[in-house]
Subunit: 504 residues, 2 copies
């Protein structure tokens, strides 16, 4: 393992982190909020540590793929530890470091699960830093998707190649670095656009930027205790809904859209699947919340339920926002879906598993993986009826290679086993069944809110410290597509064997 | 499709069914219970229909594998329809045919889920018929496992070949028919042994036989409202526990045991895995129910909980019985595990997914499939660290062929998707989340009891007719290892295309 190179890169990361903290510092100074010193301390520590790392370690050895996984995983952990410092220094977090790391990891992984019980009491600088971690995390994921994940055989560029006939990514730009630049420009452009549109809706720059970060990174942190429901503004809901929808699409497709290659966009199978899933789920939940007879339920007196019954327009409004928010794994809340019937809630949980598109900022298993798995199942059933026939696995016109299929299946299986394992652990710590399984998928899928005690209007403050650490790793596992984290642990666990084999 | 041959075989099945009904008839006459006419009517209709089928259809065409699947699926459905007749004619079922079919399908699939609210009020003849459906179903599954499932690449004989070094099944007996006979002899021998042991414990022949049927088929129907808890007898619990454990093991291994090939038995990897899983789960649940602080829970006043806290012996007693009962997918209940902490309940649910061994009468996904999936995941992670290396999938010393691995994975994936789909459907019908997902796995895994409204001391009577029909198919899908049922529907759906292709 090339430790020197790894640490040097982490140094660079910490320097970037300290520079990023200048933005919340600016808001802190502008609003004169009481978090200036805390942010300055965070900047200083990150900067000094970063510079020390940069100067101390020198290595000219090239990096191997295995080391790439290690860099990404440790990088995300370091960013969360150092990013948590401004929170830790401030009295609002009561010196609870695990809570601070939870909040920061939730930010960087674009989960949006919070341990804050009163978000609005936080000073503006820290609130902005909290939202900015989303935006940085989302940017990191796009970089990851195009630069590192080709090894998994399912990167955005590869999917892009498989999907779009005609000019390929390689023709646009031969270097990964340039590709990354293009996609970042799109990301920044969308940020400017959404912020402007939200300001038209009456938000100030601070609020508009914060919610834009939460939207485009499919994060879900709001600066209001009531999340998007706090605005109760249809225009704002539509703007956020539209950009959540865009953020859940492969960013390479946005590039096509900008270049005017509409057919490349609209012929993309994953985009079609994603859009159909959304439309079906919105229809199902709209009908379910409108037509359910709540008379005999525990919540029969809840004021929201009579509104659902009387006005189908309201049902469409809340169903569409919540379905898009959950499927893209954003986790913004425009209504307390905890009072919805069990069907709507379980459908939302299933959407959490599916998640966004590959190459988007969304989490979950990803739409393309579900598509490949469904085709795989179909082929296996066909094979039983025609044992001697050969069926290739195709998405659209393109065959998916055998090793990609194996990798997708392994991902799905690991995801399910981790889901079962973490759920079991949370019940072991004494939490009820629905809270445990929904907190697990809400963190592993990087959504944020779940059901019951982690429901739409609840938070993660009540969890004990050990459960919080497990949930922190759950967020990290989900965000780094499992493998990066698992490979790190596998490598650490088998270090001796590994070194033994490397020497051969 | 060779419909004539298929119908002829169904005729034979109905004749066998009518003969089987003579046993409950004997008990009905002996006890003078008020179900003699109902049983006679059932016998007459099954016999006449069977003979008509046998005489009407003649075909000398050989059967193809695809037709084997159709025979098995339609056979199980026909047996459940005709087997339900004695129930339907009797006033105890109030002329509710869906309830009667539910109960019979639950019997034949060895699920043990009941729609009866007062089991003890049923006349002896019908009670015996109910338990006998378990025993016949269990026998059918053993036949299925060795005669039909080799096509799936994971039959008991194939596993046997892959697992046991030295003499193979082929050497013992070259014909499937003879193999089936040997395994049936073991099944009958175990029936005699358990019945005798239960009678030593104070049961009469009727009760002993009924519970033996429920045990060896891993069914779970009891003749008592309180299931095994109704006896409150440690000796009876130990006998039933021991035979449930045996019923969850591949029956081919029992053959080795009887022949004195102890090393073949004890070196079997699936048996080891199965036993370790059981021991781990028993330990975990024992500790969990003993050490949990129930003070602040809703059930704090439940008398059972203070007993758990005071006496660890009682915890071991109930934990071991319930873990073995659930893992083998029997579903006998010796204590109301609904009052257990969430961890123990979720662990039981996970054990429902795992299920018994291949070639046993148990349901669920099966131990060997879980083993293969775990190895597959391990190999895929290894591949990411050593991209150019080749890792073969081995269980013990034997490599598992690629097509078997694919089949196992497809099975797991279909199982999970069906689980999600049926759960979603039940919530759509208005049932709560925990009831819905536990009723789904309890039927799909052929266990019987689940959690919440289908919990340990509850029943399935409250479900609406449509949900009951879905649950009937859930039991059938689980029992016939999904494929048989899916292929039937796939074939029916694509009949035209199928015939088109067959003509080529």
């Amino acid at each position: 393992m090339n430790y020197r190179s790894i640490l040097k890169i982490q140094g660079l990361l910490l320097v970037i982190l300290s520079i990023a903290m200048l933005f919340p510092l600016a808001f802190s100074l502008y609003y004169g909020s009481n978090d200036t010193n805390e942010l300055l301390a965070g900047i200083a520590i990150s900067l000094v540590t970063g510079v020390v790392f940069l100067l101390s370690f020198k290595s000219k050895e090239p990096l191997r793929p295995r080391e790439g996984f290690v860099i990404v995983t440790t990088g995300w952990i370091l960013a969360s530890l150092f990013g948590a410092l401004p929170f830790y220094f401030h009295e609002a977090f009561g010196g609870n470091f695990i809570n601070c790391v939870f909040e920061t990891m939730s930010g960087f992984t674009t989960t949006g699960a919070t341990i804050l019980t009163d978000i609005e009491s936080l000073p503006k600088g820290l609130l902005f830093w909290r939202s900015l971690t989303h935006w940085l995390g989302g940017m990191g994921i796009i970089l990851l998707a195009i630069a590192l994940l080709p090894i998994l055989g399912l990167s955005s560029t590869q999917m892009f190649r498989a999907e779009v006939p005609g000019p390929t990514m390689d023709k646009i730009s031969p270097k990964i670095k340039d590709t990354a630049k293009i996609l970042w420009m799109i990301y920044i452009g969308m940020t400017v656009l959404e912020t402007t549109l939200l300001m038209f809706g009456g938000m100030d720059l601070f609020t508009a930027l914060s919610h834009t970060f939460g939207t485009l990174a499919t994060g879900g942190f709001s600066t209001l205790n009531g999340s998007i429901a706090g605005f109760n503004n249809v225009y704002i809901e539509i703007v956020i809904m539209f950009f959540m929808y865009l953020a859940g699409i492969n960013f390479v497709l946005h590039f096509h859209l900008i270049r005017g290659n509409f057919s490349n966009f609209f012929s993309n199978r994953e985009w079609r699947f994603y859009t159909i899933i959304l439309l079906l789920a919105i229809t199902a939940i709209t009908l379910n919340i409108h037509f359910t007879d709540y008379t005999d339920t525990q919540l029969a007196d809840h004021p929201m339920l009579s509104i659902y019954k009387e006005n189908i327009g309201t049902c469409i409004r809340y169903a569409s926002f919540q379905v898009i928010s959950i499927t893209t794994t954003t986790g913004f809340v425009s209504t307390n879906f905890e009072v919805w019937p069990a069907f709507s809630k379980i459908l939302l949980v299933l959407l959490m598993f599916i998640g966004g598109s590959a190459g988007s900022t969304g989490g979950g298993i990803k739409q393309i993986r579900i598509m490949i798995i469904l085709k795989f199942i179909k082929n296996e059933i066909k094979k039983l009826t025609y044992p001697r026939a050969f069926f290739s696995l195709k998405i659209g016109d393109q065959s998916i290679q055998e090793y990609v299929v194996r990798n997708v299946i392994a991902f799905f299986l690991i995801f399910m086993f981790l889901f079962a394992g973490i759920t079991l652990f949370l019940t072991f710590m004494g939490y009820d069944i629905v809270t445990s399984f929904s907190a697990t998928i809400a963190t592993l899928g990087n959504i944020g809110p779940g059901l019951a005690r982690v429901g739409a209007v609840e938070n993660y403050a009540f969890f004990d410290p050990i459960s919080k650490i497990v949930l922190i790793f759950s967020m990290l596992l989900g965000r780094l597509e499992l493998y990066s984290v698992l490979i790190l642990f596998y490598t650490l666990f088998y270090t001796k064997r590994l070194f033994g084999k490397m020497k051969r």
